[in-house]
Subunit: 419 residues, 2 copies
Amino acid sequence: MALPQTNTVVRIHPGKLADIRVEQLPTPTIEHPDDAIVKVLKAGLCGSDLHAYRGLEPFTEPYICGHELIGEVVALGSAFGQEVEGRPALYGKLKVGDKVVSPFTCSCEECHFCRIGFPSRCVHSLLFGSPYLPGAQAQYARIPKAGGTLFLLPPSLPADMPEESFMLCGDILPTGYFAALQALGHPNVAPIIRGESYPGVMGAIVPRVQEEGTRVIKEDQKLGVAIVGLGPVGICGLVALLDILSQANVQTYKVYAVDPVPARRAKALAILKKMKPEEAAHVEVLDIEEAKEKVTKETVKGCDAVLEIVGNDSALVLAYDLLRPFGVISSVGVHTSPQFPLNGDTLYTKNVSASFGRCPVRAMFPLAVDLLVRRRDVLAGVGGEEALVERVIPMSEAVEGYEKFDSRVWGKVVFDPWA
Amino acid sequence: MALPQTNTVVRIHPGKLADIRVEQLPTPTIEHPDDAIVKVLKAGLCGSDLHAYRGLEPFTEPYICGHELIGEVVALGSAFGQEVEGRPALYGKLKVGDKVVSPFTCSCEECHFCRIGFPSRCVHSLLFGSPYLPGAQAQYARIPKAGGTLFLLPPSLPADMPEESFMLCGDILPTGYFAALQALGHPNVAPIIRGESYPGVMGAIVPRVQEEGTRVIKEDQKLGVAIVGLGPVGICGLVALLDILSQANVQTYKVYAVDPVPARRAKALAILKKMKPEEAAHVEVLDIEEAKEKVTKETVKGCDAVLEIVGNDSALVLAYDLLRPFGVISSVGVHTSPQFPLNGDTLYTKNVSASFGRCPVRAMFPLAVDLLVRRRDVLAGVGGEEALVERVIPMSEAVEGYEKFDSRVWGKVVFDPWA
């Protein structure tokens, strides 16, 4: 199938703020045997697209934006079509016409970091929609290391799921899920969840020594988790958190979902209404002052873990303020501030554990797709105030889409490159 | 038994740097039913005593220094002598004449943080040898919440262990051990140790979803750990690390033990010579440039974990530099720098996980005592270049002890208050 020669794309231009343009460029071609060309069915607009838009990430040349897509394979490099021992199975399996999603970075599945489960730091990693790799807000996109990068959607997906809902797997759903997992899986939270004291709770790595002393009692096992930031990633984190906790054997738990923006709190409440009342009952949606007050009143010196989703100083400081000693900050926000708002003394004094950085999306895909399908009544809706993907608009209206998303008039926006 | 009215102590005075004086003060008395008075048999001088000495921690009134002791109980408050349901067993068990060690902070064993295993953030926690609680460099010391704070030494200790060696349990041995445990027990290190990729390796907390994709191969399971700082705590961390790894089922591992000070490297080498050759063979003792070079050459983009023992900016930056993406910094040094040397972007870009703060010594005691006894040929020696406790001097010579320890002419110094 010959592809059209021109490709409609959304580009950001340097020189002034927020210079978004819908333009025609040559359609990408296979440049490397491992490449695939994907016809973009829908492309997402993500909070981190706004960093360059707001001037927080300097760049010198225009580039194609976006790093969330659901697409259909239209061309494959010569590496495809044969199974090679040790290479990702997709090189043998992927066919033109297959529906795929892509993480926000390409990753090879063949290096050390991919193998151990951290593909967002693959040695071949490049971020789609950056100066280094053209993005997904386009009719066609080139996917490097496509046998490692792409995720083939299972053929038997529920018919009631709009295809753009799978685009959530490209970034925000795995990122929110990862934020929750990183927090709940930390050894310093384990005593609360598992009812065994530190360091014994660390299990295998700790030599078995008979310990004396007081043990964890039932009232210690009240898990408190805060989420700072209720944008789309924060809401995904909230749903993932509740999903994990509903399956984990936790005595009691409470989630403090915090955002200063009323529209985001309203969206979080709308999403919670779609969950089972017994799950939603564990959550309070709060502004900053309410959260500080509630956490002070209801916890022993703070939350066991805080998910920091925003990526700015005030969010990080709030996460710190809401945290108990020996608590865990799981930060997935992209931080651009030149100076860290906490210092070594602050971190020492509260025995803070913190994890920063980019979600290993490709490794989280199976969990994210499973969550999306099981929770499709909550996550997969498209359109309207109570849906995670608030609106799908023609890509030709991208300038307005960026403006309204940036000013928080609109929630999550998806572009249709073919409308 | 009536105690003498005066108590020889080491105090630090404000107003000028390094103003250490050996003085006579009234002997402490029971102030609260939970108190014990301990006759200090030996008291340690620790690197963190130097923070105030060097003017890094401001204070306005003189106070008794020191937070490491082995002692003998000489008086007990009225709470002792009866077992009370729910209180620490020591309130029923401890007797005058018992030998005890104390952590560097008091802790109640009755609050939430003590119960879950983080007694260094006990709600009653006070640091011995600080403006808030008189220290251990004295003939007698008052121990608050003594039924929770003290650790009763097992009656059946090996005869070949000098009593001052148990003083190591008050701070440096548990702190080094904790630094190692915090690093090796982190989920981001688990794929290397256990040979299963993230997130599946997190186990119980992760829903069981069939995962596709490449798996961990044998060559991924080369664990690399760096230790930044080979003072006494760093050496304890090194021994603890090797002890854990010798028992864990790790494919291969390498430890980069780093310090810019030749005398400290020499001490580390002397300690390693006392270990089994097959254990010591996993370690290289290096200066900073050698470490950077070796780690670059021998690892995939850095160490899986770095133990940061020093507590200053250059140590933390070096820890960062030696770390792989998604690696773990375990920082137990006391940081006093007003500005953090890393920022959010740096931390994001490498997906850093880091834990800061004070070791939960009381919770680590059983492990530390077990390690000390099992590794007594390495750890328990006293006196000489190749011993962890390099010299025991009369407490009357404390001024010289501080000077020589501060200037790194001497390694770990212990005071005998009765010589």
